[in-house]
């Protein structure tokens, strides 16, 4: 009797195993097929565009929709993506510009949603996600020339991004430290922009979240954001706070930062540039030729980045590596960001002394009751674009 049961049990196990194996193999089959077909379509599209290019440039221009049509189509399908969490204001401004509702899909921190077409108009930073979409190295999607972009600067809805900030109180109490920090950081940025390859290697050495190739791509793209303003003009004074671009950012921020707290919303509507930035420290730092600002009040300082260690922040890593911080008498500790405890909070409660954030996030934080002060604007133009596949938006 017992043996019989055991036998039965064995049989059932065997049947189950066979069933799972067949299921697994069938599942494998179907996904393989999918891959093959997607590869095929990709190949055909790339050859198509190549043919178009060689045939006539005018036919290619006619083939793809205008930015306005693209935005309208994607918005009507509800397939515009952004990460949210304070990164969405430029996209909302663009949607408003073309008369669309300001809703968007929550985009994950990879481009899979764009790859599988659940998001047809996806947010991307020129130096990061766009590279992943276009390039062919490991971890990238290899779309190369089959994608187009909508640039926030060209559309007139650019908002300034990566800056350096601290609390107003810290700046007032430690003016020498602040100036010395800006001076050395800008020296780092200058060197990084002149030698992007070396900067990428340095960042990679300091604990990288991405591959060396992507780091290099990022360095070359970040260089453009640091050295070009929103109108496309070259910037020679790195880190300057351009009045017009700052005003545009503040204006858009007031329109699109939606705050449920009425007190905060009131404060936001009354905010002026003087509430969020002070140019005197940067001016003091750039006026100096030797980097001597008197004894720093606080010699050991920490800066928290907005994201993981990558070439987006190459200036600070280069300054660290080249000893520029040592030269001005500062011992600097670079802390990576990316958690949900944002850099604004960390700076505001004194966990760190300096932070890198987007100007819009600083404006929101100050509306909410913080007293943060931008002391330098590293990125002179918006690095945010909307990326789309050309064949999705053909006329």
């Amino acid at each position: 009797m017992k043996d019989m049961r055991r036998c039965k049990a064995k049989k059932m196990v065997a049947i189950l195993m066979v069933a799972t194996l067949t299921m697994a193999s069938l599942a494998g089959c179907s996904s393989n097929k999918k891959e093959i077909t997607s590869n095929q379509t990709q190949e055909t599209t790339s050859t198509d565009t190549k043919a178009g290019e060689t045939a006539d440039t005018s036919t290619e221009v006619r083939a793809v929709m205008s930015n306005e049509e693209i935005v309208k189509l994607a918005a009507s399908e509800g397939k515009v993506g952004n990460w949210g969490l304070g990164n969405e204001y430029e996209i909302q401004a663009l949607l408003t510009k073309y008369g669309q509702p300001i809703t968007y899909l929550s985009q994950a921190f990879d481009m899979d949603g764009f790859d599988d077409d659940s998001i047809t108009l996806a947010s991307a930073m020129t130096y990061n996600e766009l590279g992943l979409v276009k390039n062919s190295y490991d971890g990238a999607y290899n779309y190369s020339d089959t994608v187009g972009t909508i640039d926030m600067n060209d559309e007139g809805v650019a908002m300034l991004e990566d800056n350096i900030f601290c609390t107003r109180a810290f700046a007032e109490q430690n003016p020498n430290t602040v100036k010395a920090f800006i001076y050395a950081s800008m020296k780092g940025w200058k060197y990084a922009c002149e030698n992007p390859e070396e900067a990428a290697e340095i960042v990679y050495k300091y604990g990288s979240s991405v591959s060396a190739e992507h780091q290099l791509y990022m360095a070359s793209e970040v260089k453009k954001l640091v050295e070009t303003d929103i109108n496309g003009n070259t910037v020679t004074e790195l880190g300057k706070m351009d009045e017009a671009a700052m005003s545009q950012t503040l204006e858009l921020a007031k329109k699109y930062i939606a705050l449920d707290d009425k007190a905060a919303a009131d404060k936001l509507s009354k905010l002026t540039l003087d509430d969020v930035r002070d140019t005197s420290y940067w001016e003091g730092a750039t006026a100096s030729t030797d980097g001597k600002f008197g004894t720093p009040e606080k010699a050991s300082v920490t800066i928290q980045l907005k994201w993981l260690p990558q070439a987006q922040f190459m200036g600070y890593y280069v300054a660290l590596e080249k000893g520029y911080y040592d030269e001005v008498g500062l011992e600097v500790n670079v802390v990576s960001g990316g958690g949900d405890i944002s850099e604004t909070t960390a700076v505001s409660n004194g966990t760190v002394d300096f932070g890198v954030t987007w100007l819009a996030n600083l404006i929101a934080a100050n509306s909410g009751g913080m007293d943060l002060l931008e002391i330098s604007q590293v990125y002179q133009r918006s690095g945010l674009v909307l990326v789309y596949k050309l064949d999705t938006f053909m006329k």
């Binding site: 049990a9 509800g78 397939k79 949210g84 969490l85 304070g86 809703t103 968007y104 899909l105 929550s106 985009q107 994950a108 899979d112 949603g113 599988d116 659940s118 930062i257 705050l259 449920d260 707290d261 009425k262 007190a263 905060a264 949900d340 944002s342 604004t344 909070t345 505001s348 409660n349 996030n361 929101a364 934080a365 909410g368 009751g369 913080m370």
Partner: protein, 276 residues
């Protein structure tokens, strides 16, 4: 032996007529005390924080009042996910427990695998589900809803199946022998003995399941494509440093959990009135 007269307070507290009232009054009193300390900022001094990081109840109250329609919209999204997920998950969980009881040889082992699902962190499960449900619908709000419900469901299955299994098998002593002595068939044993015996265990599972379904719903909203829900609002507001608003939504999340728990207790009171 001398019987010492007990203190009047102790006698008062031990009085069976006073007991039920006390079990309500004491927790409420504690709650009121915490709120009083909070509003008067004594709590801030104890915790070493400020009104910016931990806003006053009056401020939270004001924000709730100012944004009631928007908050209700988010509450609706979260509650819907939690309730649907809990209902489906608990149903499947109970079915698994029944299967495990019917096939005891496989049951215990299978159940431990199901229980292992409980150990999967929601933060890991939520993005996976979001990716899995990409093909469910072209409408982002629908597929996000499915993804969130799936997360809640998986969490609920584990709690329910383990508890229901216990209810179906931890039978009163000798009751099974008694049934056997009646020559009762397995089916009769199941419907007359096991099923009724499992009802209180279902409620035990739900007591754990209701709060965890709300938590699962909130966390899975973090990763959902379609932006809605109390959890998403908490995250958005914390990241853009709007702590007062974030705390408002945290308070709302607490209220959702508490009211769902109260509703459950009411059902339990009605359904289990005749027991014990």
């Amino acid at each position: 032996m001398i019987k010492r007269k007990k203190n009047i307070f102790i006698r008062f507290f031990r009085n069976p007529k006073v007991q039920p009232f006390l079990s309500v009054i004491l927790p409420v009193a504690l709650g009121v005390l915490v709120f009083a300390l909070w509003q008067t900022q004594i709590l801030h001094k104890i915790l070493g924080t400020d009104t910016f990081t931990l806003p006053l109840p009056s401020q939270i109250n004001r924000i709730i009042g100012d944004n009631l329609p928007k908050i209700m919209l988010n509450v609706k999204a979260t509650v819907l996910v939690a309730v649907i997920g809990l209902a489906i998950g608990s149903f499947i969980g109970y079915l698994i427990a029944v299967l495990a009881t019917v096939f005891p040889r496989w049951g215990a082992g299978g159940l431990s695998i199901v229980a292992a699902f409980n150990a999967i962190p929601i933060v890991a499960l939520a993005p996976v589900m979001t990716n899995w449900t990409k093909d469910v619908s072209s409408d982002a709000s629908v597929r996000s809803m499915v993804a969130k419900v799936l997360v809640v469901m998986i969490v609920s299955i584990a709690t329910m199946s383990v508890n229901a299994y216990r209810g179906l098998n931890n039978l009163p002593e000798f009751s099974l022998d008694l049934m056997k002595s009646y020559a009762a068939k397995k089916r009769v044993v199941f419907f007359k003995l096991r099923l009724p015996n499992s009802v209180p265990y279902i409620f035990t599972a739900l007591r754990v399941g209701v709060p965890s379904s709300v938590i699962s719903a909130i966390v899975s909203e973090y990763f959902a494509e379609y932006i809605t829900g109390v959890g998403r609002q908490i995250r958005e507001n914390i990241v853009i440093a709007q702590y007062a608003t974030a705390w408002t939504y945290i308070a709302v999340a607490c209220l959702i959990g508490i009211s769902m728990y109260c509703i459950l207790m009411m059902f339990e009171g009605i359904l289990l009135r005749n027991r014990k």
